[in-house]
């Protein structure tokens, strides 16, 4: 038996929390990235690629990108819910956002693991 709630509160809590947690992850990555860049100066192609070919940097960057895409989804959905009133158009645009983000995540992984 699937328990269905037709109406109810705090459906948005998960999104709200995800927005905050992903934000904290991205702030931490930004700080890590800044330190790594300062340590690797001067930045030419070799140093830049060397930075991203390290396992920990790849994983950290991947975690950053996944947080970014979850964060962007919640944010873009909020914007669409606020400004796009026709339901069909809003759902279509939400689908475009999802496809763009899933595609972007795949592209980011491809870029990182080729480097």
């Amino acid at each position: 038996m699937v328990k269905r709630h037709v109406v109810g509160a705090h459906y948005g809590l998960g999104d709200w929390l995800m927005q905050r947690l992903s934000a904290v992850v991205m702030v931490a990555y930004t700080a890590l990235f800044a330190v790594a860049i300062i340590a690797a100066r001067p930045i030419d192609h070799e140093a830049w690629r060397g930075l991203f070919s390290q396992g920990w940097m790849r994983i950290a960057t991947l975690v950053f990108f996944l947080s970014l895409f979850l964060h962007a989804w919640v944010g873009m959905r909020d914007i669409l819910m606020d400004y796009i009133k026709p339901t069909a158009l809003r759902l279509a645009l939400e689908l475009v956002v999802i496809l763009a983000l899933v595609g972007g995540a795949g592209w980011a992984i491809d870029i990182l693991w080729r480097a």
């Binding site: 905050r20 192609h45 690629r49 970014l68 962007a72 944010g75 914007i79 870029i111």
Partner: protein, 130 residues
Amino acid sequence: MTDVVVKRKRPLWYNLSLGNLPLPGIISILHRISGALLFLFSGFLLYLLGMSLASPERFDDLRQLLSHPLAKLLILVLLWAFLHHLCAGVRYLFLDVHKGVELRAARATSGAVLAVSLVLTAVLGGLLLW
């Protein structure tokens, strides 16, 4: 209803047009605009990242591309969008835990967000692009 005690006078803001927002309101709408900008240009930024990592030749191509004034302008705008979104976002995290919610503090931190993100954009943009 005569015994209702008004404990504290709270600020009222009836004019909600964009040009008349108080400072925290400006920070808020800029947070939204900068977030939307970052989403819209995330594909372009990923393209630049791919270029920078692909090969030394593509890295030089990227350098060449970023020497164009229009490219510099776009990168500056996106850098500002990132920094503003970051600073305003950190402010919101503090507001979430009820730090800085008083009117005076809320206005002061809004001014700080606006100023710090602009100054950082100038400094980092200068280091990155010139």
